[in-house]
């Protein structure tokens, strides 16, 4: 009889893991809470650093998960995993139960809810948006203010909800910097006359060709980078945004008027992941992400044998890393099912 593996979460990690598992001959069920698989990828416009359309990656993932051997079950939120000898009983929100011989948890991340940083005015001032909202605008092909006008000056705030002790997130989400650089370039592409100002703490360009993209943004696109966190945002009488910051390189306080402010929301453990983990006894770290059995040679292993992690439910990762991590999880599953 064929072994059956359940993958929880139909984003990049989950789809890659499901596709690789099928290749090795296992039967796979892929659960996704939304109506269609793809996760955050469905919302992105182009990907850093090469700025290929996100749809190309989505196409690859759709290809490897279509056809026989993979059952994709959408619109189902898994809430609990219970182990009974070699069998895992998995139940969803509605109470339906499924069984599996092994489980891959790929519940991914949520974007930091920017309204929690009230001082930036997300949800209060019309033209304060998040990086995800901006991707949406790129997809639609029009970057406009709420009143329909085109913004002339755009500010980008890095580290929103990342490296922020007060928000309870000490860690760096590591991809917001390069997202900001990518989006700054794209703004300049869409609106050649617009001025873009990025407010950063540190520029963390630690990926292949990230630093090159950063240089390109400055040299070719004239994006301005100011080292200093934005402290507060208010609205001027003519509906522009007044941002207060400090230029820490010049050592001076700074006040600036912009038409639109884009918040680079960080990555947090997903709410569904939190619920699933807590009800199933999966260990989490201080950063609330799942805590792998070993950070060096067991980053896919959970504290329960037979349950493995793939992707951003363990830490912030880019798509390349997520795909590698998902494949590594499949290796662990193969080894586990061979033994049992």
């Amino acid at each position: 009889m064929n072994k059956h593996v359940v993958v929880i979460g139909g984003g990049v990690a989950g789809m890659e893991a499901a596709g690789q598992l099928r290749k090795t001959g296992f039967e796979v069920s892929l659960f996704e809470k939304e109506e269609k698989p793809g996760g955050h990828l469905n919302k992105w416009y182009k990907l850093f650093p090469d700025r290929r359309p996100s749809s190309e990656v989505k196409e690859y993932l759709d290809n490897i998960t279509s056809g026989e051997g993979i059952k994709i079950i959408t619109g189902k939120t898994i809430e609990k995993i219970v182990q009974n000898k070699n069998q895992f009983h998995i139940s969803d929100k509605e109470g339906s139960e499924y069984t599996a011989d092994a489980v891959i948890v790929a519940t991914g991340f949520d974007l930091f809810k920017s309204a929690r940083k009230e001082e930036y005015g997300y949800g209060i001032y019309d033209n304060v948006i998040t990086s995800a909202d901006l991707e949406e605008m790129f997809r639609k092909g029009s970057i406009t203010l709420v009143n329909g006008r085109t913004p002339e000056t755009i500010g980008i705030v890095h580290c929103v909800g990342s490296r922020d002790e007060k928000m309870g997130n000490l860690y760096c989400s590591k991809l917001c910097c390069v997202t900001a650089v990518k989006q700054a370039i794209e703004i300049r592409e869409h609106l050649p006359s617009a001025k873009v100002f990025c407010f950063y703490m540190d520029m963390r360009m630690g990926g292949a060709y990230y630093e090159e993209l950063y240089r390109e943004a400055q040299e070719e696109w004239g994006v301005n980078f100011i080292r200093g966190k934005v402290s507060e945002v208010s609205e001027s009488i003519n509906n522009r945004l007044v941002i207060k910051s400090e230029d820490t390189l010049a050592g001076k306080p700074l006040k600036m008027l912009v038409d639109m402010l884009v918040l680079m929301a960080g990555m947090e453990m997903s709410e569904e992941g939190l619920k699933l983990g807590d009800s199933s006894g999966l260990k989490r770290g201080d950063n609330r992400f799942f805590s792998p059995a070993d950070h060096h040679f067991g980053s896919n292993k959970s504290n329960l044998k037979g349950i493995y992690y793939a992707g951003t439910c363990t830490m912030p990762m880019n798509i390349t890393e997520t795909i590698s991590h998902a494949r590594a999880a499949v290796m662990d599953v193969i080894e586990y099912l061979k033994e049992s």
Partner: protein
């Protein structure tokens, strides 16, 4: 029999402590400022005398406040204090009535049984002996509780109790020995003579049945006298100094003396009045939410008494004032802590025994070296003339929803106002004051005061309780200072602000600085009741919690603050309200990060309830301009 050598230790102790109390009182009185001296004289010889006597009876003897909040702990304190008082009172009467002479030396009544072993055989004497045994039993029951409390504080309903020093332990042991040794001494004597009532009599006859009672009694009379003498002599060096000091404190407080912002005799009196009962430890959120158990007010008082460097303790506090409210002695704990903060680091010094009995008065709190604050870069400008000034403050600028709501409310109420710090302003000064930096704060206060004077306003509205408290107490302004909850209430009452009733369940979190700090408890709740359904939380008014975001604590981590915030949010949302309301931007920010329930300032709820005017103003025109045109047409 008129005298026996065993009474000598007791006599030495008694006369020592009496003389000491008088000398120390004279020193304290001398150290009071001139106005305070006059206050105390007026208080002592005036109307408040009766009140003080009543308070001494109710608090120092009966311990009414402790009884109310924790009956078992209260009983323990009452049985020891009130019981001992009764024993002395009825003992003196006993010696006076049944003794050989009237007006005896104190030792005659304390050791009455030794000198009158035949007393109490029958009739009225026996009844009186019964009464004395009853009082002794009353004290011993409390003592039993005290001994158990030392080893397991939960028995008396306390989670934590204070830790002791060596001298305290010696004094505590001698205190504990006093009453058991009296019991045994009296029992042996009674056993030998066949007297005594239900307690000493019965115990005495049992002991006498197998022990030589006559010979055994004498050593226990010595022990009784020695433990009394030791206790009295050590008393000034230990926390038991609170017993005589509290009497002085009650007179001083009822005479209207306050801690103020300068160290002095009243500070010292209060510090010595702390009995280390530990009630402040149980009240402290740093203890029960963040697990910090060594910085509470009892430890601050003890550290100061022992001449330790208390700056770590002094600065590790939310300054929420919960312990002030719960302190059974009524010590002004938060103002005392402020005094220690102003002093900054203090030098720890070895003390000779003499110094311990008579602490150095002059070097109690060395002044902080003068800093050179300079705020010359602040821009001076002429504000517009107006009636009402709205000062949002730094924290409100970080919570723009509150700021926008207040602007909407000010617009809707139709007053002529000026948003003083709309495009950013200068800090009110309170965070600097809380850090003990008064001189620097004064610079900021002067800057803001000038702006407010120049505007000619008669009312100043703030959204932040921190600003409210400092404008009210530390600015010398000829304007009415209102927190926005008070302003909104006024506007509702005089009909300027028309509001809908929102069908929402709301709980209210009273901010420390507004509630315990400034006494504004009712207005925010009145406003909330006007627009929504207000639920009780069990943490009302004086018992309200601190959100944990306090600017007053610069020692604890964000993680510890967040632990406090989560506990508070969980308590206040346990009945599932639609909105957790508060009236402080800092509380709002702190609590919003700790719960999934919607957290809102009362101004946001009120702004939601404003009845929109029938005729719409033109949106392209700034709202203020429309109002001015309307005035012009009138």
């Amino acid at each position: 029999m008129q005298f026996d050598p065993f009474v000598i230790p007791f006599n030495i102790g008694l006369y020592f402590i009496l003389i000491y109390a008088v000398v120390r009182s004279v020193i304290w009185f001398n150290d009071l400022s001139r106005p305070d001296k006059l206050r105390l004289q007026r208080g002592f010889f005036g109307k408040t005398f009766g009140q003080s006597i009543k308070e001494i009876f109710l608090e120092s003897l009966i311990h009414r406040k402790i009884l109310k909040s924790n009956p078992r702990l209260g009983y323990m304190h009452m049985s020891l204090a009130f019981g001992w008082f009764l024993l002395i009172l009825f003992g003196t009467i006993e010696a006076d009535v049944f003794g050989a002479h009237h007006l005896n030396a104190p030792y005659k009544s304390i050791f009455f049984k030794f000198f009158n072993p035949e007393h109490g055989r029958a009739g009225f004497e026996a009844a009186y002996s019964f009464l004395m045994d009853l009082i002794l039993a009353f004290i011993l029951s409390g003592l039993l509780l005290a001994v158990i409390k030392r080893f397991s504080s939960k028995v008396v309903g306390m989670k934590k109790t204070t830790k002791l020093r060596v001298l305290d332990k010696v004094a505590l042991t001698s205190l504990w020995l006093i009453f058991p040794s009296r019991l045994l001494a009296e029992s042996f004597t009674s056993g030998a003579y066949g007297t005594g009532s239900f307690l000493t009599g019965s115990l005495g006859s049992v002991l006498a049945s197998f022990l030589p009672a006559q010979e055994m009694a004498y050593p226990f009379w010595w022990l009784y006298s020695l433990s009394l003498g030791t206790f009295f002599i050590l008393l000034p060096l230990t926390r038991y100094m609170h017993i005589p000091t509290e009497l002085f404190l009650i007179f001083a407080r009822n005479s209207g003396i306050k801690t103020g912002d300068q160290p002095g005799a009243f500070r010292e009196i209060q510090i010595y009045s702390c009995s280390s009962c530990g009630i402040c430890i149980d009240a402290c959120q740093l203890n029960f939410s963040a697990g910090i158990t060594n910085i509470q007010s009892a430890y601050l008082m003890k550290g100061i008494r022992n001449n330790e460097n208390v700056s770590d303790i002094a600065f590790n506090c939310l300054m929420c004032g919960r312990c002030d409210q719960k302190c059974p002695v009524g010590i002004e704990l938060t103002p005392l802590r402020m005094l220690s903060r102003r002093a900054g680091e203090t030098v720890e010094s070895e003390q000779t025994i003499l110094k311990k009995y008579f602490p150095d008065r002059k070097s109690v709190l060395p002044a902080r070296p003068a800093a050179d604050p300079s705020y010359t870069f602040l821009k001076q400008y002429e504000p517009a003339k107006t009636d009402v000034i709205y000062f949002a403050g730094c924290m409100t600028h970080l919570t723009p929803a509150i700021k926008n709501s207040m602007v909407a409310i000010l617009e809707a109420s139709g007053v002529r106002y000026n948003f003083l710090d709309e495009m950013g302003g200068v800090c009110c000064g309170r965070p600097l004051m809380l850090a003990g930096q008064d001189r620097e704060a004064r610079e900021l206060i002067n800057h803001n005061s000038q702006l407010i004077w120049k505007s000619g306003a008669h009312t100043l509205v703030t959204s932040c309780p921190i600003c409210y408290k400092v404008f009210k107490e530390s600015y010398y302004l000829d304007v009415e200072v209102l927190h926005h909850s008070q302003f909104i209430k006024n506007m509702i009452e005089d009909g300027s602000l028309k509001l809908n009733f929102l069908r929402r369940k709301v709980t209210y979190h009273a901010p420390c600085e507004l509630g315990r700090g400034s006494g504004v408890y009712d207005e925010p709740k009145d406003v909330l009741r006007y627009v929504a359904r207000l639920q009780e939380t069990g943490f009302e008014d004086k018992n309200s919690l601190c959100c944990g975001g306090s600017l007053g604590n610069i020692k604890i981590s964000s993680r510890q603050k967040s632990m406090i915030a989560h506990d508070v949010a969980a308590e206040l949302t346990k009945d599932n309200p639609d909105i957790l309301a508060t009236s402080c931007p800092l509380c709002k920010k702190t609590l919003a990060a700790a719960t999934t329930t919607k957290v809102a300032d009362i101004s946001e709820i009120v702004a939601d309830a404003i009845i929109k005017p029938a005729i719409k103003k033109k949106l392209t025109e700034p709202a203020g301009k429309v109002k001015m045109q309307a005035d012009f047409q009138n």
